[in-house]
């Protein structure tokens, strides 16, 4: 009896858990999502907020110019420059104090020309930076260079209280989100365990009391025949066994579970979430992106401008590793590849099918999505794994829920107006702008 009761209670518990688990999971998921969105917004706000502060230094930089400068900086400069730290080139913070804009423009257009002209500062700069020449950017207009400078100036003022670059802000935000989410789930776990223990204690107590009562009653002699019958009534197990209703219920549940499991396993065919292959070189994102806080776009050069984020070529590794950790056996593999002229064959982790078109720049540059949103806590990964499911449902869900990053983007101005006029309360999501239509991704 006792054991039966305890078994029943564990069944009930299991059922309860089964019902509650998806809800719980959803909770965590929504927590993560909500956590990330503000993170993204937070990264964007300092730039906008700092606009007035940056204005005098930049020589008339307004919010639009700073926003434009942000994009231009990421696309052209971020590979070699940061605001506060020296990367390949010097830190750009305080550049307006060091040099006038009329000097910066020709320098950016063609630095070697300025050096060749014998400009004292330029020659010194060249020598101080290991005689490494800055590539020429003749395609940048004067206005664009001014807006980059405006953005840099806005960053140096905004940078002191918060972190220096967008990348670090994002990482902090991402980290905090993770903690929040983890904290919440731990709390529910404890609550659940306490509840279960209380339930077990209650059930056991109940059984003990029932047994005691029975013993007491059996000791009494004044019971009539009917009472004795009731007291000595034994549960008829064979009846239960022969019950068609119960058999039917069990059978149905069994069939449903089997079906569910079957469908689940079929749906999982081709899913590679969590795929974590061994790479030919033990490159750690944790060391580079996490501990050393190197901006993602420094190595993934085209993530803000192209369909593919671009796996860095060996010459990008050499920007640092010609000097740093040259003795490491892993880094020696890169040297060997260069010597043998055989490119490194990385194992591709994120494999979208050929029929789906995905463009990184659409999401990073236009959408303002952080890398971590899809790639997970990449800054904590020693070995990268596929964080997201990368299924169509996963894409569509995000497109349905994510509000469009329309702020300051002239493309959307009229669309936002039209949307707000017709349905003000509903957020202007990607899908409300046609972002779930077939030919947005399939052609």
């Amino acid at each position: 009896m006792n054991s039966f009761l305890s078994r029943t209670s564990s069944w009930v518990l299991a059922l309860f858990l089964a019902v509650a688990a998806p809800a719980l999971a959803q909770n965590t998921a929504s927590v993560t999502k909500n956590g990330v969105a503000p993170g993204g917004a937070a990264a964007a706000t300092p730039a906008a907020a700092a606009a007035p502060a940056g204005a005098p230094g930049a020589g008339g930089g307004d919010a639009a110019a700073i926003a434009a400068g942000d994009a231009l900086f990421k696309n052209n400069c971020a590979q070699c420059h940061a605001v506060k730290d020296k990367v390949v080139g010097p830190a750009l913070g305080g550049i307006t104090k060091r040099r006038s804009i009329s000097w910066i423009i020709p320098w950016v257009h063609n630095s070697s020309k300025v050096i060749a002209s014998g400009d004292e500062y330029a020659v010194k700069l060249y020598n101080d930076n290991g005689k490494q020449q800055m590539p020429a950017f003749p395609q940048l207009s004067d206005k664009e260079i001014t807006s980059i400078v405006a953005w840099v100036t806005s960053q140096e003022t905004a940078a002191s209280p918060t972190a220096a670059t967008g990348g670090t802000t994002a990482e902090n935000a991402g980290g905090a989100d993770g903690q929040d989410a983890a904290g919440a789930s731990k709390y529910t776990d404890v609550l659940l365990i306490v509840l279960v223990v209380v339930l077990i204690v209650l059930v056991v107590t109940l059984a003990i009391i029932a047994n005691l009562m029975k013993d007491v009653l059996q000791g009494r002699k004044d019971l009539d025949g009917r009472d004795v019958e009731v007291l000595n009534q034994r549960f008829d197990w064979t009846k239960l066994y022969h019950s068609t209703v119960l058999r039917g219920i069990v059978g149905t549940v069994f069939a449903l579970v089997l079906l569910y499991e079957g469908v689940q396993s079929v749906m999982a065919v081709g899913l590679t979430q969590g795929y974590q292959p061994t790479q030919p070189i033990a490159f750690s994102h944790k060391i580079h992106a996490g501990e050393n806080q190197i901006n993602c776009a420094y190595c993934h050069t085209s993530v803000y401008k192209s369909k593919s984020a671009n796996i860095p070529s060996a010459n990008i590794c050499m920007n640092c590793h010609s000097q740093i950790k040259t003795e490491s056996p892993e880094i020696k593999k890169i040297y060997r590849a260069i010597e043998r002229k055989q490119p490194i064959q990385w194992v591709r982790i994120h494999n979208l099918p050929d029929l789906a078109y995905f463009n990184h720049s659409q999401h990073t540059q236009v959408g303002g999505i952080q890398c971590q949103t899809c790639h997970g806590p990449i800054q904590n990964m020693d070995v990268v794994y596929q964080y997201s499911a990368l299924t169509m449902g996963w894409c569509i869900n995000c497109h349905r829920e994510t509000p469009l990053n329309t702020k300051g983007n002239g493309y959307y101005d009229n669309l936002v107006k039209l949307h707000d006029k017709s349905n003000n309360a509903v957020p202007f999501t990607v899908s409300s702008n046609g972002g779930t239509e077939c030919s947005k991704c399939h052609y």
Binding site: A67, A68, A71, P135, V269, G270, T272, Y275, P277, T301, S302, K305, S306, K307, S308, N310, I311, P312, S313, A314, N315, I316, A337, I338, K341, Q342, P343, I344, Q345, W346, V347, R348, N351, P353, D354, L355, Y357, N359, S361, Q362, Q365, V366, G408, N409, G410, Y411, N414, L415, L418, H419, N433, G434, E437, C438, S439, K440, H442, Y443
Partner: protein, 1020 residues
């Protein structure tokens, strides 16, 4: 690095997979023996078969469960300007001996994937011919010779150079370099270096489609024409819009004076006298079908009429009347008219030159001071070379992109001489072991032009450059560099070429910057090409006129012509895109045929597809019959360029070589001959993509009207359908059961000006390269399964009309209306998915694979399609295409669609467009990949897309700007403005009454035919 993209590897256990598949062929005893002949043991019971089948499938499925490992291979040292998956454009030049085009090469991840016209070029002005569009495929042609060869064995560069230098040094006779026209100053200098090194060196240029007579009549140069300033054009057999000299340049000029609007209600008038119905003839206002031997008398009659000379004789009444009319109009437009002729008879060209002189056109519409250089071949010298080769006077011969064994009327003589080792040293620089190259002792294949540096001067004062856009695919060497090596120089051709440009750009400090600009722009002004020498003396006018007075010939005359696609059949001969490009007029693909007039076919009881034996001068070929409206009576026409034997698996044995029928006369090669025709009894089906001929008075499909009407009232040139409603007759779109879409963002649309469309087919190939459209081969075209997303419908006019119902009865009239006129008017209509706002295809798809987008596009989702083909059935425009096979992997299609089968060929595919699998429907997407890219660029720059920034491949490739693509939601776009302006005038929708509300609008064609020439049109 040739490929940067990862090489896919299957990570399955190889043994398992092997066993899973090996089980099948090893002991599955399925025997196709006749019943009774096989004993029981060898016949597998059906159950065993199913068991084995089941096991194999299960094993294969299990083996496939493990996802394959993909590699991602980055650059070792990434070039600064290249970012993976971003396309770069490089300016270059396409010229393969006949067709000059300044191009932009779209390069993706280090490989050229598409060619587009270079808008900077003042010659071709952004236009690109169909042949040039398809040329990118030639780069990845596996039939190219992939290394140097000497006497049948592979050799290294140095070995061959050594042998050739020795051979050339000790050559006992003349050294002759045979090539097509060379318009490259750099190449000419390199050849001069070679010539300077050896004694008695001679360079013989010949053109496959020779303009020797035109050169002779104009002092050794080609006049350059300006059709944009011409009011009256008279063409005597010159197909200047299709194949004659510089069609892209001329088309662009021609349409500037053919486009009409309410502000400009004038057009040029175009007379065409020709034998075969050509692309140019089908665009003419007045076309007269004449025998090739009549061209001379017509030229003479025209001269007499214009210059007031003697009377004309020996002309048919129709020709006589039109010549008189043409002469009258020419005289009324002195200095703004032009007479051109495609004849290679010096007498005709001399008279034509005299007519232009007499009309004062020299210096206005025709210039001799800025001549064109794209034809320099001299027939007399080529003839002399062949005689010399036969007599043994030639010690060494070098063929540089020349294949005279195939494409010269005396090719058989050259073949014999080469086989008989009449020349001690024979070398081929051709890109493959073709008919001529395979007979040579040494082969030093040239790079493809997309792998080479070169310069060009198509016209005096206009220079352009070609630059390599890919690392050489094979162990070949640029021919110019080969010349330099043999001349004893070790300079690279790049340095040599650049040195040459110092005379153009100046030698001072600015040279490098100027050079960089030329490389960037692709074009420059300046001249570098020495004026070509031409040795044959011109005829005097008196001599020319006396020659033309001769009596007309009897017998059936065959005229040889070039196809718009295949052309002379050089390296294009192995290009499947061009083989499957329907001929603009006959809509025939894959091979040539004998085009005969209907009357001749009826008289001789020939049916279409009957094989005829065509004999001329003791040589004969066998080809099927095609009944061609517009073919002159008593003549047939046959396309050259087919019947290759050593071009590659696509083009070998497709059609028959008609060059053998041409006559090599002392005056030059004549592309017509008197022939005898004989029925062989065999049949050979001709694969046509369009078999219905006329529109049978269905004005809803395609509309046309006369300039006279348009001048009178532009509001009356188009007919609009009206439907009856309670409120009276209304436009069909006023009555609808459908809810209309609301377009907030964009509303993409297209306008096709039928007046500007000349039917050249450039858009068809542009679309095919852009969208990875499969080639299906002759049999599938016969089954009507061609895959072109864009087609150009061609309709002939009929002599019969609906007004004969009462007189002849409805059935009889309808039957008669199906037959085109003997000399029909032709109208072209580009037809692609109309992206209907009320699309009939969308409602019938059971799986929602075709849906409407918020930007007005009809979307096709391949991975959702299950292939019911309901949509194709319900499409009123018949623009949907079904993948009946896996054209990229079914071995049946390896010959014709080979580029999708090999790693080499697949490099040409556009990575932004899915290659469609078997069993799915596909259709025009309005180049959604280009739209998405354009929008993304705008978003990245935080602005709206600019008008003209997003453009479809067809609109981009149209040399006459007949197709305009744009955003109808933007009131200031050119498209919106055009539609507003033309609404109620020329704008109409095809099949408007069914109210599917297409996003593609057509503009009514306007013809400049005077009413008296078109009595039937008055009725219409």
């Amino acid at each position: 690095m040739k490929y940067w993209k990862g090489i896919e590897e299957l990570d399955n256990s190889p043994e398992f997979v092997k066993n899973a598949f090996a089980e099948f062929p090893d002991f599955l005893p399925v025997k196709e023996g006749r019943a009774g002949s096989a004993d029981d043991s060898s016949v597998a019971p059906r159950r065993d078969f199913l068991k084995l089948m089941g096991f194999s499938v299960a094993a294969a499925t299990l083996a496939a469960c493990e996802a394959p490992v993909h590699k991602a291979i980055p650059y070792l040292n990434k070039p600064e300007e290249i970012d993976p998956s971003i396309s770069n454009f490089y300016a270059s030049t396409y010229f393969t001996g006949s067709d000059y085009n300044a191009v932009l090469v779209k390069n993706r991840d280090g490989r050229p994937i598409k060619l587009e016209g270079n808008p900077e070029s003042p010659v071709t002005r952004g236009g690109l011919s169909a042949r040039a569009q398809a040329a990118v495929l030639n780069l990845y042609d596996g039939a190219r010779l992939q290394h140097f060869m000497a006497k049948g064995k592979r050799v290294e560069f140095a070995q061959l150079d050594q042998a050739v230098r020795t051979g050339l040094g000790s050559a006992s006779g003349k050294i002759v370099l045979v090539s097509p026209t060379i318009i490259s100053p750099g190449t000419k200098r390199a050849i001069a270096e070679l010539a300077g090194r050896y004694r008695s060196f001679e360079h013989v240029m010949y053109d496959v489609n020779s303009a020797s007579a035109l050169l002779q009549a104009n002092g050794g140069v080609l006049p350059s024409y300006d059709f944009s300033r011409v009011n009256v054009i008279v063409s005597l057999g010159a197909d200047f819009l299709g194949t004659w000299i510089s069609p892209v340049e001329y088309s662009r000029q021609y349409v500037t004076n053919r486009k009409v609007s309410t502000d400009k209600r004038t057009m040029s008038r175009h007379f065409q006298f020709e034998t075969a119905l050509s692309l140019t003839g089908s665009n003419a206002d007045v076309r007269v079908a004449v025998k090739p031997s009549e061209i001379g008398p017509i030229a003479l009659a025209l001269y007499n009429a214009v210059a007031g000379g003697g009377s004309s004789a020996g002309l048919s009444a129709a020709a006589q009347k039109q010549v008189a009319q043409a002469a009258k109009e020419l005289q009324a437009n002195r200095g703004a008219s032009l007479v051109v002729s495609g004849s290679n008879d010096p007498a005709v060209q001399t008279v034509v030159a005299a007519i232009n002189q007499a009309l004062g056109n020299v210096g206005t519409t025709l210039s001799l001071t800025t001549p064109s250089f794209v034809r320099q071949g001299e027939d007399g010298r080529m003839s002399q070379f062949i005689s010399d080769l036969k007599s043994g006077a030639v010690g060494a011969v070098i063929f540089y992109h020349a294949n005279p064994v195939f494409n010269h009327p005396r090719g058989a003589e050259i073949e014999e001489a080469l086989k008989g080792n009449k020349a001690a040293l024979t070398i081929s620089l051709n890109d493959r072991l073709d008919e001529t190259g395979s007979l040579c002792q040494y082969q030093a294949p040239d790079h493809h032009w997309l792998e080479s540096w070169n310069d060009y001067e198509p016209k005096r004062g206009e220079l352009s450059l070609a630059q390599p856009t890919i690392t050489p695919l094979f162990k070949t060497r640029q021919a110019q560099e080969t010349f330099l090596r043999w001349a004893g120089s070790n300079e690279t051709y790049y340095d040599f070429l650049k040195d040459g440009w110092r005379t153009v750009l100046g030698t001072n400090n600015g040279f490098q910057a100027a050079w960089d600009k030329v490389v960037h722009d692709g074009v420059a002004t300046g001249s570098a090409l020495p004026t070509p020498t031409f040795t044959t003396q011109p005829l005097s006018l008196a001599e020319a006129t006396s020659r033309l007075g001769g009596a007309s010939k009897s017998g059936i005359e065959a005229v040889l012509y070039e196809k718009v696609g295949i052309g002379e059949g050089g390296i294009e001969g192995n290009n499947p895109f061009l083989h499957e490009l329907p001929d603009p007029i006959s809509k025939a693909t894959w091979g040539n045929y004998v085009a005969v007039p209907r009357k001749m076919a009826e008289e001789n009881k020939w049916q279409q597809n009957d094989v005829l034996k065509v004999t001329a001068g003791g040589k004969s070929i066998e080809l099927p019959v095609l009944v061609q409206p517009g073919q002159a009576e008593g003549t047939v026409s046959i396309a050259v360029g087919y019947g290759r034997t050593k071009v590659g698996k696509v083009g070998d044995a497709v059609g028959a070589n008609a060059f053998v029928l041409a006559q090599a006369t002392p005056a030059g090669v004549q592309y017509y001959n008197t022939v005898t025709l004989e029925k062989t009894g065999a049949t050979n089906p001709i694969a046509q993509t369009q078999t219905h001929h006329t529109i049978m008075d269905r004005h809803e499909v395609v509309q046309e009207n006369t300039l006279a009407k348009y001048r009178e009232n532009p509001k009356e040139v188009s007919e609009y359908e009206r439907v009856a409603t309670p409120d009276g007759l209304e436009k069909p779109n006023k009555v609808s059961l459908w809810q209309d879409y609301q377009y907030n963002d964009h509303h993409w649309g297209m306008a096709v000006d039928l007046n500007s469309c000349i039917g050249c087919g450039s858009c068809v190939i542009g679309c095919q390269t852009e969208n990875n459209i499969a080639v299906v081969g002759k049999q599938q075209v016969l089954n009507r399964r061609e895959m072109h997303w864009m087609r150009i419908d061609r309709y002939y006019s009929s002599d019969h009309h609906e007004d004969e119902f009462e007189k002849n009865g409805k059935l009889k009239t309808y039957a008669a209306m199906e037959d085109p006129s003997d000399n029909p008017q032709v109208i072209f209509q580009p037809m692609m998915c109309q992206h209907c706002n009320h699309a009939p295809c969308e409602t019938v798809c059971p799986v929602l694979a075709t849906t409407h987008s918020s930007e007005g596009l009809n979307q096709m989702t391949y991975n959702r399609c299950v292939g019911t083909r309901y949509c194709a059935n319900n499409c009123p425009y018949k623009v949907r295409r079904f993948n009946w096979f896996s054209y990229y992997s079914n071995e049946k299609f390896e010959d014709v669609n080979g580029h999708m089968f090999t790693d080499l060929g697949r490099m040409v595919l556009n990575p932004d467009v899915t290659v469609r699998a078997r069993g799915v429907m596909e259709k025009c997407s309005m180049c959604i990949q280009r739209i998405q890219l354009g929008k993304l660029e705008a978003k990245k720059q935080k602005r709206r897309p600019k008008d003209g920034e997003i453009i479809t491949a067809c609109a981009q490739s149209c040399p006459t700007e007949a197709i305009l693509f744009g955003d109808m939601r933007d009131p200031n776009s050119r498209l919106s403005q055009l539609l507003r302006r033309e609404d109620g005038e020329r704008a109409f929708h095809v099949l408007d009454s069914i109210n599917v509300q297409p996003n593609v609008t057509y503009l009514t064609k306007i013809r400049n035919g005077a009413a008296e020439f078109f009595p039937q049109e008055e009725k219409a």
